[in-house]
Amino acid sequence: MPELGELTRAAVEAAQGDEAVEAFAEEGRTTEASALRAEVEGLTFAEQRGVGVRLISSGRLGYAWAADPSLDEVRQTVRRARENAALAEPDEFNVLPSAEPISPIPELFHAASAEVPTDRKVELALELERLAVSSDPRVTKIDLSQVGDTVSRVAVASTAGVDAEYARTDAWAVVVTLAVEGDETQTGFSYRITRAIDELDVGAISGEAVERGARMLGAVKPPTAKVPVILDQFAAMSFLGVLAGALNAESVLKGRSLFASMAGQQVGSELFTLVDDGTVLDGPGASPFDDEGVPSGRTELFTRGTLNGFLHDTYTAARTGEGQRSTGNAKRAGYKSTPGVGTSNFFLDRGETPYAELLRKAEGGVLIQDVSGVHSGANPISGEFSVGATGLRIAAGELGEPLREMTIASTLPEMLKGITGVGDDLRFFSSVGTPSILIGEMTLAGV
């Protein structure tokens, strides 16, 4: 079996004339164990590798990919990319990035984690379920308890001189609990992503899921009202996903971002600073280089409410001109897809207000712990959104009555302007991180 680097270099060597060719190869080994009713529900082993080839000829871009190719099949993939390029429109901004020095991030690979035996993962999934069903009499069942890890490697090489490779380990645990009282069932959810299996704290994960589900029992539909709102870290994270789409330079260039003409303007509250940083190890989104071989970097998108700029890959930077450089944000869904602009570690910067203080400031308001339908209910072009929400009333600095079947509707700029408090509790769940956020006033629609 050829090494990833041999595959990518074989593709580059197959370039003809003044063609620009880039090959992206990845391979991974994933193990996932799930537990149900104190037994192993499922145990999945996966090994996958593949190569994707981007070929640019006279500004025309073609792409082709192949699963687990031989060196010969890689050369055939280059030929297919060439055929596809012939049918595409020329675009002068189709260019490959030139090689830049890359700083390795050895911390991304935990050699010990790569060797953890399967039995240990099974034990952890079983333990996660056991803990989840043994701390609260109303929580005796789970919907899901899963522990998994991946050992993977990525290589990129191009005719522009890029030839880079790195390895990483990732581990995760997720639990969904069912809290039951009478004929009512509420779900609680929590998860963590770490670099190593042994960094997973299953006690903390199960405790959080149990609490979040059980406290929703007895939830009622509230009357429609304008109230102060705290978005907890889970709920705030959902909104950050929508912001990420609108801060992508591709959306901006194509007139699909509400922020397109707002660079340099004060868009959000002074408390709002939003960062993308592929070099920090706090979240799992770190990598030494992006998916076209450009070194990862830090981009402050908003500084105290002012929009500084957008996330770029090589294409959007070239098309933007004016000295714009790639911010190292070329991302792919895998070897089957061409790179596009995406986030690395994307987070709302830590504030100064302790959580308890946020609760006091939100007197008479609502803590939102979950929002649903963000994907369909938020429009990154107009900035309008309307989403379903569940949460708890805030009274005397404490969480009170649980609420369900309500919706929050506003616009992203109004929401960002309306931020009156940012917690000091920044937390990364995935490559998106956020503290709790207090918004002065929002409309909650219920009865």
Partner: protein, 461 residues
């Protein structure tokens, strides 16, 4: 794709620790996708995927291993890894493999894979031209075309051997319209398990017009009202809601985990008398159709509701065996890289007796929903939410001003019980459903129907 001797050997290896059965799923998929954006063909991608997954089951527990190599050594390694989840000492038997033939649900006249890519590019140009010509207010068009042929071979230790090719074709138009600072979008994406003859009806121009009209219409929209009100759903949209809010809680894994609001309710009335619902994978060329599911069970039409009475659940093999019923042929997987799960195919609310005009004209006020953007449900509590991507106020029985930023929120049983009119103008809507990290093409369908009272979330008064 692979010879029987090898498959037999892999199944035997998978059963070395016994278990209730073993299964091999082999797949080869060729695909083409083209994206036209901003007036340019930005991307033309062809892919070639292949791999095999081996599953060994014991009750509702399973081991699953897959590889994208199809040589003997890799397949036997996968069989060994999958069987390692079991602890038994006694190997299980493998019954002689006998081929089962399918009904030919997804007949193809003109295979998309045989057409030159240049013709497909021309369709996207037509789509782009048509959308831009629709109105000077159209400022951006994205056209996407995709086709694929997935060849599957499934063999099980009970002696079943099936082979089936699944042809898919889809055309998508996403259109942005702009008037001053007001920006609105329109989407339309018809799809089928078919050859390119599908485009004779759902061609590039027709697809572009639906999306363009939607975007331009929404430029006149006002913020949607908020609160409880009557909602009329246009043909197809009730099916989307039925899929999400009712269908997911009817999937047997949710029921087995006691995470379904419908658990224990078979035989009882949990929807309006007017609701008759099915899940049907046998619809010719349907987006969610097939001859055999991804566990080699034959497809079928499954009654879910008759006159509002719940008839049963949607089963995969493991959950069906657990409760001692036959699988409904709903074990589906995204690819060889995923173990099968119970999920919907084409899920429909069937025609009632009212005329759609009467349903609207007898509604004094409310919201008429003509396009839903997608939604989410919590199967355990039944709470769901949907984004409305195109809707209108209903005033004195007529759809009037378009509204934006609306969503529908409610609980499955309450909302289905509040349906007080079902028309006879059935239509479908094709989507891609996500569950357990796997994407699956699904069809939804319904006639016009009315919900007497549901919460609408919106920013307006």
């Amino acid at each position: 794709m692979l010879d029987r001797g090898l498959i037999d050997e892999v199944l035997s290896a998978a059963r070395r620790h016994g278990g209730s059965f073993a299964e091999v799923f082999v797949e080869e998929r060729s695909s083409t996708s083209i994206r036209l954006d901003d007036g340019k063909v930005e991307e033309l991608t062809t892919g070639l995927d292949r791999g095999a997954g081996v599953r060994v089951a014991e009750g509702t527990s399973y081991g699953y291993a897959y590889s994208n190599r199809l040589d003997r050594e890799s397949l036997l390694l996968a069989a060994e890894a999958a069987s390692a989840a079991l602890r038994g000492d006694a190997p299980g038997a493998v019954v002689d493999l006998t081929e089962a033939r399918g009904a030919g649900t997804n007949h193809v006249e003109r295979p998309a894979g045989e057409l030159p890519a240049a013709e497909k590019v021309a369709w996207l140009r037509e789509l782009d031209d048509t959308a831009r010509a629709f109105s000077p207010e159209i400022v951006q068009v994205t056209g996407m075309y995709g086709d694929s042929l997935q060849r599957r071979l499934i063999a099980t230790s009970d002696g079943v051997w099936v082979q089936e090719g699944r042809p898919r074709i889809r055309l998508v138009a996403q259109v942005v319209a702009k008037r001053g600072d007001n920006i609105q979008t329109g989407f339309h994406g018809p799809a089928a398990c078919s050859g390119v003859e599908f485009l004779d009806v759902h061609g590039p121009a027709a697809t572009a017009e639906v999306a363009a009209k939607r975007a331009v219409t929404m430029l006149d929209s006002i913020p949607a009202p908020a609160g409880e009100m009557t909602v009329v759903l246009a043909p197809g949209m009730g099916g989307v809601l039925f899929h999400e809010a009712v269908g997911h809680p009817l999937e047997a894994d949710a029921v087995d985990k006691e995470a379904s609001v419908y658990r224990g309710l078979v035989g009882t009335k949990c929807a309006s008398d007017l609701i008759n619902g099915v899940d049907d994978a046998t619809i010719a060329n349907g987006w969610g159709s097939y001859d055999f599911d991804d566990e080699a069970q034959p497809s079928q039409r499954t009654q879910l509701f008759i006159d509002g009475v719940l008839q049963g659940f949607i089963y995969d093999r493991l959950r069906a065996e657990k409760v001692g019923v036959a699988s409904t042929g709903n074990g589906r997987r995204e690819s060889y890289a995923h173990p099968p799960v119970a999920r919907m195919t084409n899920t429909y609310i069937v025609n009632g007796n009212s005329s759609p005009a009467d349903v609207l004209s007898s509604t004094p006020s409310g919201v008429y929903v003509t396009s839903l953007g997608g939604g989410q449900v919590n199967p355990a509590s039944g709470d769901f939410v949907f984004g409305v991507s195109e809707g209108f106020l209903i005033e004195d029985g007529e759809p009037t001003t378009p509204v934006r930023g609306a969503n529908l929120i409610g609980r499955a049983i309450e909302v289905m019980s509040a349906v007080d009119a079902v028309a006879d103008d059935f239509d479908t809507w094709e989507g891609v459903c996500g569950k357990d990290g796997q994407a699956a093409p699904v069809g939804s369908g319904s006639p016009t129907l009315r919900i007497s009272k549901i919460t609408v979330g919106g920013t307006g008064a």
